[in-house]
Symmetry: C2
Subunit: 317 residues, 2 copies
């Protein structure tokens, strides 16, 4: 347990820093362009933007330790959204391709304070496609990332030159590596080491069955792996995107929940919808906006990419 002094943030000094340190002005400009570019690519591909769900009885159970944000309202328990995954599976039944600029609150443990990669209140653009494979998602997101980098280098050359002069625009298709081959090459710390060794973003695929949550689809032909993926940034910046094809069949969802010891109660309403056979096959992902900004500007900590950043374990406004 850390000493409580290390959590404190002097709000007046922070606001003064916003005013005198150009990093906040530069990063927020780049970030606004990231939002514009990703949305433009998705809009042009026929995606419909939906509004976020900020609180719900149903949210992502997550695969790592964290605190809960539960509150009660007229007899129902709500949490703040940790990811819109289960709502996206319903939303694609209304529009085949959807995205949401989705705020996520994940009360991470304080050991994440210095990771450089974690905020406990962050935004991802969450997208989902009906009857799509993970390759379809790769296609869309590669276009979005390439377009965004090209546009930002063109519109803000001075900012990129100042922070990340050797930023390369990646080429399609991005490389794919299975977790198995990365583990063989790099050992247990494979994600970090593979990221440090890479010069372009790459897809990390075939994540082992028990390393992700119940909603990512089990490969029917290779049941020890999932049809999911992360996109990993190069130069040690690690995870950019997380996504996958989804489980949509009731029995299979139940089986996967049991395997992960996921409590059924919280997902009761979701399970009813699945049992009724209403869900269909889909695939999608979420791209973290602060992390994308961090990589484009090669910043040491994601807390420098935005105003009012919420760093795990630290106080904030």
């Amino acid at each position: 347990m850390m000493h409580s002094e290390s959590r404190k943030v002097d709000t007046v000094e922070l606001v003064k820093d916003y005013l005198k340190n150009p990093i906040f002005r530069d990063a927020t400009l780049i970030q606004s362009e990231i939002l514009k570019c990703i949305r433009k690519v998705l809009d042009e591909k026929g995606f419909v933007e939906l509004l976020p769900v900020t609180v719900s009885p149903i949210t992502d159970p997550l695969n790592h330790p964290h605190f809960e944000t539960e509150f009660e309202y007229y007899g129902q328990k709500y949490s703040i959204t940790k990811s819109m995954i289960l709502h996206k599976q319903v939303a694609v039944l209304v529009h085949k391709k959807i995205y949401i600029v989705s705020p996520n609150v994940r009360l991470e443990t304080e050991d994440k304070m210095e990771s450089g990669r974690h905020l406990f209140d962050f935004v991802q653009i969450d997208m989902e496609m009906l009857n799509a494979s993970r390759e379809d998602v790769f296609e869309v997101m590669e276009d979005a990332i390439i377009y965004t980098i090209e546009k930002i280098k063109e519109k803000y050359p001075d900012i990129i030159k100042k922070y990340h002069p050797d930023l390369k625009t990646p080429k399609k298709p991005f490389k794919r590596y299975t977790v198995k081959e990365l583990k063989e090459k790099y050992g247990d710390n494979y994600e970090k080491l593979a990221s440090l060794n890479a010069t372009e973003p790459f897809w990390m695929i075939d994540i082992p069955l028990l390393e992700r949550e119940f909603y990512d689809k089990q490969d029917p032909n290779r049941p020890d792996v999932l049809l999911d993926f992360d996109l990993i940034y190069p130069e040690g910046f690690e995870e950019a995107i997380s996504g996958g094809e989804r489980e949509h069949e009731y029995e299979q969802i139940l089986k996967r929940m049991k395997l992960k010891n996921t409590p059924f109660e919280q997902f009761e309403e979701y399970l009813k919808v699945a049992k009724e056979g209403l869900l269909e096959h889909s695939a999608g992902c979420g791209i973290g906006i602060e992390r994308f900004t961090r990589w484009l500007l090669a910043l040491d900590h994601v807390e420098k990419t935005r105003l009012f950043a919420k760093t795990p374990g630290k106080h904030s406004i």
Copy 2:
């Protein structure tokens, strides 16, 4: 207190309704266009889009009864954002014109269930301008509303014809009425009645001092009214926008907080920033996205404008 049965929502029936009732498909299409159009107008006028603050120790105290969403994290108390008002006052010091697609959670009391206008998890586009007057805000928002309506009528004529065939594109400048003159004309229920009588949106200005929160600027020349405003939709659809010029001077903020019995503790960090003299004069507003959608489609309840709507007092997913 209502019987608990009336709160229940059958999730399976709701999802089936999403699939068979075209209203959800139509409304979400219109809504995605609203987001695109407002952002486009703001982008073209030089506004910078910032990411939302979803949880904070500091948020809008609101001027009406509601429940709180407080939780504790490493010794600090947080609430879900009810509006980004106080963060916007800091953000305009970094970029002179800003906006945020901002999710707000306000746990309204159950008497709002049938108002047709309330959701307890909704989105507003929150904008703020440094050194601006409320007339500057009117100018920007009138352009945004007119452009959005023109674009939607052009792009989705069949949807508008089906739901709101007599939808008029309003003309600049929108009319302004003081609360005083509306009260004289319509009595206590002036907002509803003036809305029912109007055929175009109008600005309701000069709200009496005690009817709004401490952050809306008191008129130095007429201290019984504020330099704030609402935009009111015609045809009985009521409040569209709420905003104003802001208090930014420490002594004046303290005076206003005392007048409203606002507890100082929650705003300690904000008051420190004000005391240091860092805040400057600004003006801004927030436009509710679900309510704008409701008016454009003339729907009886805002819960039909989006997926996973959260109606006060009702259960939801």
